[in-house]
Amino acid sequence: MESRWYFFVGDIFANLVVGVVAGVACWLLVGPAWNMWLAMIIAMALGMLVAGLLFIPFSILFGAMEVMVPTMLSGMLAGMVVGMWCAMSAVSLSGAVLVGGASGLVGLAIVWGFHLILRGRVELARGDR
């Protein structure tokens, strides 16, 4: 989790936007006639594609891997959730926006959780241990 405010807010903003755009893209594509599992796979791929495109401007502002990894996860997650939901029932645009945005924040929270576990020194040798 980033302690500098610029990056902290930037990370939230980037993942929120990726989640919303991925959610809306899947809402536009997937309808109730779709097979749910097919919808899930295609929507996940679409979410990743959205994240890959939005990564370019966000990376200029907020960083490289610290933006790429969570936004990819957020795009996948938003695509999966909204895509499956749209395949199961009629979904409103505001519903897709809300669920997409929430998925983006969940994706970021997952990455921050892993980061808290993995960050720091992991290997020592030569008497430094």
């Binding site: 907020f62 490289a64 990894v69 040798a125």
Partner: protein, 202 residues
């Protein structure tokens, strides 16, 4: 000289600063400054690029810097001249460095071994030019050992490798495979961005 790799980085040079000079450099500046603060003695810096890392170098050092791309080095020139120390640049492929064996006390890399086509051979070349007991300091992004990040990094590599770096390298294992002894690995972001300190065994 690996012409294909040279062409790839010559093409990337024009937009390199736009993509890398703001967000990524701001974000990594504290960790890079901490890593480069260990510069002492004869220093080789691998893959200078457009010289973005120079801002994090401690002043007053004498550094030999190489890069495979002449366009990158041309863009780096203003930063090289502004550095309050001495940086000598050479257009050079890490696999074909003409330096004598055991020429340097330290080697530094920064986001380099995601792009060297044969990373273990490149690292072996660095080991050759390091003095016995000499240190290798790396700031690198690598693949992840954790799901779902490992899968994502493999997927991203399909796209990223064509225009620039691979996202799924196991650079720590490559350093070991090249005959270095790992001293310290510190994760900066997940297990994806990290600093590595290794030595050439005596």
């Amino acid at each position: 000289m690996d012409i294909q790799t040279q062409r790839k980085w010559n093409r990337a040079a024009k937009n390199f600063d736009l993509m890398a000079s703001k967000g990524a450099e701001w974000r990594w500046a504290p960790q890079k400054r901490a890593l480069f603060s260990r510069m002492e003695g004869g220093i080789l810096f691998l893959a200078l690029g457009t010289g973005l890392d120079i801002a994090a170098f401690p002043p007053g050092k004498t550094i030999t810097a190489i890069d495979i791309s002449p366009r990158m080095l041309a863009l780096a020139q203003a930063r090289v001249e502004a550095y309050p120390g001495t940086i000598t640049t050479h257009m050079m492929d890490v696999h074909d460095m003409p330096f004598a064996e055991a020429s340097f006390d330290q080697v530094f890399t920064s986001c380099t071994f995601c792009s060297v086509p044969d990373p273990v051979a490149g690292l072996r070349a660095l080991r050759r030019v390091l003095k016995p007991g000499g240190e290798l300091f790396m700031f690198e992004h690598t693949g992840s050992h954790w799901f779902p990040f490992n899968v994502m990094m493999h997927l991203m590599t399909f796209m990223s490798k064509k225009i620039g770096p691979a996202m799924n390298r196991d650079t720590v294992a490559n350093v070991r495979a090249a005959g270095f002894e790992i001293v310290e690995v510190e994760n900066i972001f997940l297990d994806v961005v990290k600093t590595i300190r290794a030595v050439r065994p005596c």
